[in-house]
């Protein structure tokens, strides 16, 4: 029985007051020049520092979970609270008033994308085993989808899974796997029948990353840190009960993950980057650089803010319409598209305002720190489906336009042309 919103708010406040510190001056208040000025999207920390941040993130998720706030919309059978997305929204907006650790390393991929996929396609036993552990902050999950020759064309994955009795033996290479170096679990798409059309010969497996044959190698990003990885799978034995969905029906499983990915990425607002592109922060940026009275800069700020605000309204309305468990539709691609565009635009706007102090670190607060965001923005147009793919989805699935000619979805996978970089 869902708790009344007023009672829920009281409960949340009680929890947050007991476990976190409320920001002074409310969420919109910015003290220019005080505290950290890092404007991070991807981590650029040394591994030890990062490992510490991951431990802190896990601990905060555990605290949320133990107090009934770890998985508000999840079914009670698997450790969820059985509440609505409205409750979740309320919780998020209240938590934003407090200084709490950033839980992105667990939340974006694991809880935002893999969790809902396990819930929709996993066997009972598997849901019991992993969902409480994930939402309880113990298990970080990653998405083992992309491969060197299968990015936008994800249905061309080549990593093989071959059945041996009660197990499957996995061989292949995944790439660009975010957070794999912190993760315990991965959701892998594998080719199980190359003689069927490409979408019909894929099976999805949950892979325990501590199994022999799993080799995770961090890749350095242009922004400096190593948030994504190559993952090599060599004779990895996965029990059949770790299969999600039916054999050769893995594409349907993948779609659940991808729909949630687009909604998750598009719906992101928090973190240092979110705060930095907020109106109060940008206002202080203009003030500090003497541009608060400059008409051209003011107009650009207004236009930037209008775009951001409207995108946020759109996300809220979409969330309000959803009830827990209902899958987001292809419209979520609009959010994903706008999110990348707005953050990119904001980063270049800030660069224009800051000027040459962005290109060399003079030590002045809130200047060179924008480089981190600037150097992260190219990824936002690529990860979770590129800008071009998002536009194809909108044009084809929402507007009903025909597919581009010449894309073969019917021939057996074996016969399709693949990139020269393909390992097969």
């Amino acid at each position: 029985m869902p708790i009344e919103l007023d009672d829920f708010i009281t409960e949340v406040r009680g929890f947050l007051d007991a476990h976190a510190t409320r920001r002074t001056g409310g969420a919109g208040d910015v003290q220019w020049g005080v505290g950290e000025d890092r404007i991070t999207y991807f981590s650029t920390e040394a591994p030890e520092v990062e490992a510490k941040a991951v431990a802190v993130a896990k601990a905060w998720q555990r605290t949320r979970y133990e107090n009934g706030f770890g998985w508000l919309t999840g079914p009670t059978d698997f450790g969820g609270r059985g509440l609505t997305t409205v409750h979740e929204l309320v919780y998020d907006s209240l938590e934003a008033e407090y200084d709490v650790p950033d839980t992105g390393v667990l939340a974006v991929v694991g809880l935002g994308m893999i969790g809902p996929t396990i819930l929709a396609h996993g066997q009972e036993k598997i849901k019991q085993r992993y969902l409480p552990a994930m939402y309880g902050g113990d298990v970080i999950a990653c998405q083992l989808f992309s491969e060197p020759a299968a990015g936008s064309d994800l249905a061309s994955v080549e990593t093989k899974a071959v059945r041996e009795g009660d197990e499957w033996v996995l061989n292949g290479q995944k790439v660009w796997t975010s957070v794999a170096h912190h993760a315990q679990l991965g959701l892998a798409l594998c080719r199980t029948d190359p003689d069927r059309p490409k979408h019909r010969g894929i099976t999805a497996f949950l892979v325990d990353l501590s199994l022999p044959g799993v080799d995770i190698r961090p890749l350095r990003q242009m922004s400096g840190g190593a948030d994504f990885n190559e993952v090599f799978l060599t004779d990895v034995h996965v029990p059949d009960d770790h299969r999600l969905g039916e054999v050769n029906d893995g594409w349907r499983v993948a779609l659940t993950t991808l729909m949630n990915e687009r909604a998750t990425v598009g719906g992101e607002t928090g973190g240092p980057a979110g705060r930095a592109v907020s109106l109060p922060f940008l206002r202080e940026l203009l003030r500090a650089n003497g541009r608060l009275d400059d008409p051209a800069t003011r107009r650009e700020l207004a236009s930037l803010y209008a775009g951001q605000a409207a995108a946020e309204y759109m996300n809220r309305q979409a969330l309000r319409k959803l009830r827990a468990g209902v899958q987001p539709g292809p419209e979520a691609s609009v959010s994903k598209l706008l999110y990348a565009q707005n953050l990119t635009r904001a980063a270049h706007f800030a660069a224009d305002v800051v000027g040459p102090k962005l290109i060399a670190d003079t030590g002045e607060w809130g200047t060179f720190s924008w480089t981190e965001l600037l150097l992260s923005t190219p990824a936002l147009r690529i990860l979770g489906g590129t800008e071009e793919i998002m536009k194809n989805i909108l044009a084809e699935r929402v507007l009903g336009l025909p597919k581009e000619p010449g894309i073969d979805t019917k021939s057996p996978f074996r016969e399709l042309r693949r990139s020269a970089r393909s390992s097969a």
């Binding site: 992309s146 020759a149 299968a150 990015g151 936008s152 064309d153 061309s156 790439v175 660009w176 890749l219 350095r220 990003q221 242009m222 400096g224 994504f228 541009r291 400059d294 051209a296 800069t297 270049h348 660069a351 224009d352 305002v353 000027g355 040459p356 102090k357 962005l358 290109i359 060399a360 670190d361 003079t362 060179f368 480089t371 600037l374 150097l375 190219p378 990824a379 147009r381 690529i382 990860l383 590129t386 800008e387 071009e388 536009k391 194809n392 581009e404 010449g406 894309i407 073969d408 399709l416 042309r417 693949r418 990139s419 020269a420 970089r421």
Partner: protein, 384 residues
Amino acid sequence: MSAGDETTVADADSEELLALREAVRDFLAARSDEAAVREVMIGERGYDEKVWSQMAEQLGLQSLVLPEAHGGDDAGFVALSVVLEEMGRALLPAPFFSSVVLAATALVAAGDDEAAGRLLPGIAAGTTLATLAAPGPDGAWHTGEGALAVAASPADGGGLVLDGTAGIVLDGATADEILLVVAAPEGPTLVSVPGDASGLTRTALRTLDPTRRFASLTLAQTPATVIGQPGAAGPVLAQVLDVATAALAAEQVGGARACLETATAYAKDRVQFGRQIGSFQAVKHKLADMLARVQLADAAAREAAAVLDGADPEGDPGVASAVAHIVASEAYMSVAAENIQVHGGIGFTWEHPAHLYFRRAKSSQLLFGGPNAYHERLLARVGI
């Protein structure tokens, strides 16, 4: 090129300059390929001294554009543009822009034979590294607003001493001779300070673009030599900016063209959905847009160089270079970003060169103040 009656003006597509382009390209491919650039960019000096002296001795690049009277070859700005395009294309980390473009132009523009005779031969031979800064209120390039950040006052025993901070000086940590535009009682004045001057503290800064270095300089009662007339640096600076922004535009075109070429090659090579990604109209049109931007920037940069060489008696170098600075800055930034986009995930890695161009593009766009400054500068040049 416009139909000027000057016949001595070089054409970038002339046989001679095509040969120069090829020589520079071959040299950089051999001596400063990507692996070499990556090694130098994490090194302390930020450039390879051996490559630098080979550039001077084997190709004579440092002397190319300098006046004959001071050890140069007077080859003109079109020739300089060809060289800079190739350097931009290869992301050459070297003090060429600071020494040969900024400092040498200032020395010539100041019309001070004594100073020119003292410094230009070394710059031309590559044995003297010089730089120029006109630090404004925030330490960056003075863009017309606010006061100069370094002040000159008479020294006890005659001459001048400087006090203040030049916050962001190109190659400021490695330069042997630093030219500065400072506030003197007579007005903005060009002065020079040796790198080891007393009271001068130089701090190398962390930079967005590791192939282009900056330093912060603080001066405390640092003795300086006046170049040209006290109070006469205004017109010198304007002339330097015309040359420097035109030169930068050529370098930007070189980098942008490299991005376009890499992206095009990748679009032909990479297969998704059973097809080369370049066969998708979204990618094809993106590349066509990139081409259009690069061509436009190329036209603007060539025009600016030709006008500086006097190709068009009616051409205004101030306007042409301000146009080139805007168009090339925006083209390079956009093309560098789209190059990453065409590459997908691999374009976002440290190992792929795409980000080095992205960094250089932003660093170049903001070098002389960025969009706020360069738009105003064009309007000022056309008298609006």
